[in-house]
Amino acid sequence: MAQMNMIQALNSAMNLMMARDPDVIIIGQDVGYFGGVFRATDGLQRQYGEHRVIDAPIAEGGIVGSAIGMGVNGLRPIVEIQFADYIYPGYDQLASELAKLRYRTAGDFFSPLTIRTPCGGGIRGGQTHSQSPEGIFTHVAGLKVVMPSNPYDAKGMLITAIEDDDPVIFFEPKRIYNGPFDGDPDKPAVPWSSHPKGEVPEEYYTIPLGRAEITREGSDLTVLCYGTMVHVCEAAAKAAEVDAEIVDLRSMVPLDVDTIRSSVEKTGRCVIAHEATRFSGFGAELAATVQEECFYSLEAPILRVTGWDTPYPHAFEWEYFPGQARLIAAFEKVLEAA
């Protein structure tokens, strides 16, 4: 097996799928000759030609809109939105069109898009290169919404997303493109090669969307998280010496309620973590679901550890980021309770 960082794993998934299926194409800003500002599509235009890896005008709405049309005409477009912060100009085409096309035509038309977009903070990107807007997509019926936390999952899930006939919004936590990150920006960067999930098969494999993974079993409390936060939560549990069960959701829609339920029924306590702002973030749906599904098992209020309800600030990045200290405080509070 090869060692891959997340970018290489994503590149490998796209490369494989383009080789297998001539209908797979890529469109996005700077994705072609240049290979993408994060280099996820590096080399693909050289290999598959400029009719299949297409540099796009700077118009997210136009990229999504035209890709929908391509999908209707039998292609299987992968769209790259350069930063998740710039997905909003495409929101109408995503929410009003892509999400509802199958429904409104009773299945006669659909467009199997995969929308890849780097999200999250921790790279000094300020408020317009750090956002985590997954929540506003999970509210739209008809979209699948996922976020992998490591190279192995990233590749397997991206292949599944590309093959999926439903639209998938594929969020990539850019902070962990190069390595897992425990929430401490002062520590030296860790590469994926030192992490088991940096071992990635060269060949085709899939990971189903809608299945969470328990990355650490534990009995004291359940931590629901995804993306970068999986690693921060693991580190915080370790630092706090808490026997936490860490659930990497991987997929927000569909949501693996079974795994969540059985974990919380076991532990009786639950902390939810994400980088997005707290109010009406995806953690709200998780908390609502958990209390509904596991009410009688819960021994303490479900706590959310999230970005604050402000834009992502440039200077106070680490005050904003829901790091280990905030997680540990929540672990303690939830364990103390009742």
Binding site: A59, V72, N73, Q93, R104, A106, D108
Partner: protein
């Protein structure tokens, strides 16, 4: 306080109680605009195509000039039949809405030539991305009126399974895309569809329609930019029927320039055509289709026409424009003009026309009766309620299965 407002606010030519005034519509004589080769250099052709008006039928109903498509009398008869069918279908459906049988309706009165002539000028395998005022495309492509009626009724045979408002048709087998309630979204989708055709090396082209009001939406620019960059085989149509609900075309930027002039700004031709002249619309569409099929690129067409009736059954145009405005519309009625042309040429007669109308009224009525056998929203056969949860995704995820169960449990109570 000395306020010197100098913000320009467009004004329509006339308001209720005033005399209609269409002097702002610049009209070229029939036959006066040259017909360039579809591969001609933009700069040599752009001005006349975008600023003059391509017209074939002259004031005496004679076809004239280089754009005359020289159609067979049989084709003219087909065109007339489709336009009349569209009009009579519209009339009937509006009546049914008034009677409460359907919830909503939108007519295309006065604009029938656009859909019918364009559809006839395209190939059946070309993909159409209509707006809500293009029912003529469905009819011309041979859609059974019963299907359209069932959609409007949201009944058991509704192609949309009750999920869309009336008139939001689609027809996958007929290569007609789904109509969206959101304006202009189909414009970049059509461009993308055409890009895919070009990527796959297929010969089919795409054509999309929006109203002039909708051209202000972002997706107009998206479509134009992508069409400019990738030169895909697409025809982008702006149906300038002068009104967007209560605002006239000046509120979309039509006061200063024809909408057709947007094309050259992006580097491809914009063509301004008399949208009520069946022959001109047909000819211009052939020209644009040839450009697309020969790989030259996109064409923008502005169809100058007039929305003769209300915006929809929810609208009352007498609040914002003169009641008799249509009568003053200088480009007339597309049905009358084609009919008179055919009569003038000896292909048609008043008697035949009357007979055709009678036949079509009868046909529409029969279709309506048949449609009713599939139910209405309140009576007769109904859609299965479980359908509410289908097709959100290809396979139903757990949370929707649960919600379906909840609804079932309630219904069982």
């Amino acid at each position: 306080m000395s306020r010197r407002p100098r913000l320009h606010i467009p004004h329509p030519p006339a308001r209720p109680g005033e005399d209609p005034d269409f002097s702002y519509v610049e009209i070229s004589p029939a036959g006066s605009v040259a017909r360039p080769d579809p591969t001609a250099r933009l700069r040599d052709i752009e001005r006349s195509l975008a600023f003059e008006m391509i017209r074939v039928l002259d004031d005496n109903n004679v076809a004239t000039g280089p754009w005359d498509p020289l159609l067979d009398p049989a084709d003219l008869q087909i065109g007339l039949r489709h336009m009349l069918t569209t009009r009579l279908f519209d009339e009937r459906m509006q009546r049914m809405q008034r009677q409460g049988r359907i919830s909503f309706y939108m007519k295309s009165l006065g604009e029938e030539a656009v859909s019918v002539a364009q559809c006839m000028a395209l190939e059946p395998s070309d993909m159409l991305f209509p707006s809500y005022r293009n029912q003529g495309l469905q009819i011309t492509r041979g859609r059974n009126l019963v299907d359209l009626m069932c959609q409007c009724l949201s009944n058991s045979a509704d192609m949309c399974k009750g999920r869309q408002m009336p008139i939001m048709y689609h027809w996958a087998r007929g290569n007609i895309f789904s109509i969206s309630g959101n304006l202009t979204t189909q414009f970049p989708q059509a461009v993308g569809w055409a890009m895919a055709a070009a990527i796959k090396g297929e010969d089919d082209i795409a054509s999309a329609w929006i109203g002039e009001g909708a051209s202000a939406e972002a997706d107009f620019h998206h479509a134009m930019t992508f069409a400019s960059v990738y030169k895909p085989p697409v025809i982008l149509n702006i149906v300038n029927n002068q009104w967007a609900i209560s605002t006239f075309q000046g509120f979309a930027g039509g006061e200063n320039r024809p909408f057709a002039a947007r094309g050259p700004g992006y580097g491809f031709p914009g063509v301004r055509v008399d949208g009520n002249d069946f022959l001109a619309v047909y000819a211009v569409t052939r020209w644009a289709a040839e450009r697309a099929r020969r790989g030259v690129g996109a064409t923008l067409i502005e169809h100058v026409t007039y929305r003769a009736d209300a915006h929809s059954t929810s609208d009352d145009p007498s609040r914002y424009r003169p009641k008799e405005e249509w009568k003053a519309w200088p480009l007339g009625d597309p049905v009358e003009r084609l009919k008179n042309h055919m009569i003038a040429e000896g292909y048609w007669s008043e008697a035949e026309h009357e007979a055709l109308i009678a036949e079509l009224i009868e046909h529409v009525s029969e279709c309506w009766e048949e449609a009713l056998t599939y139910g209405t929203m309140t009576d007769g056969p109904q859609l299965d309620k479980n359908e509410l949860f289908e097709d959100v995704f290809k396979d139903m995820p757990r949370h929707l299965i649960d919600q379906r169960e909840q609804l079932r449990a309630l219904e069982d109570d």
